[in-house]
Subunit: 119 residues, 2 copies
């Protein structure tokens, strides 16, 4: 068992499976039961149930009980942390690239401007 298992790792590893991403895409178009979710996949309902448990542990979905079925509801909150992490660090990278671009642009500007005067 992992010691802490931070939420960010749970969310990313939940998203790392194409079946689970397909489940989320399906759920984005409306809530659904386990059997409805399992129908398009070539696997048993128990396997889908396991995937749902992973998504539930990552708090990407939540489940309620209405009689016999347990419909799944999307919980976008924890995606914020994931997007937040990526955006934060992609920002740094694009900043670095912007700086590089700006630097190159400055170089070009200096060269263009300096044509005739500095040489």
């Amino acid at each position: 068992m992992t010691v802490v298992e931070d939420d960010l790792s749970l969310v990313f590893s939940a998203l790392a499976d194409p079946t689970r991403r397909a489940i989320l895409e399906r759920l984005a178009r409306g809530d659904a039961t386990v059997n409805q979710l399992a129908e398009p996949f070539a696997m048993t309902q128990q396997a889908v149930s396991k995937h749902l448990k992973v998504l539930e542990r990552a708090r990407l979905i939540s489940r309620t009980r209405t009689g016999q079925s347990r419909p799944c509801v999307l919980e976008p909150v924890c995606l914020d942390a994931a997007v937040g992490w990526i955006e934060r660090h992609r920002q740094v990278w694009t900043d670095r690239h912007d700086r590089l671009d700006a630097h190159l642009a400055a170089l070009r500007a200096a060269r263009d401007q300096g044509e005739g005067t500095t040489r």
Copy 2:
């Protein structure tokens, strides 16, 4: 070996490990060699090398050879696919939940506040 292993799954599963995320954070502040990256972690250089291979396979980093060392360079391109996927589907959810503004505010707050609060 997995059959196809689509790029999105590679990126997400690469991001699913806190060590690899820390490596990316470190690399965001500048290129580094394997030993430089391995220094802050309580694990061997070989383990870090494995992590780097995962990141390289996900095309989140690339590596060049300069004499004795093999510095790592960030490749943010493939993160766009990941963010794109999340944004696409989170858009649906936030539309449904009508909480886009709150989310953006939280994003900005998280970014300004920095890591560690995103649990």
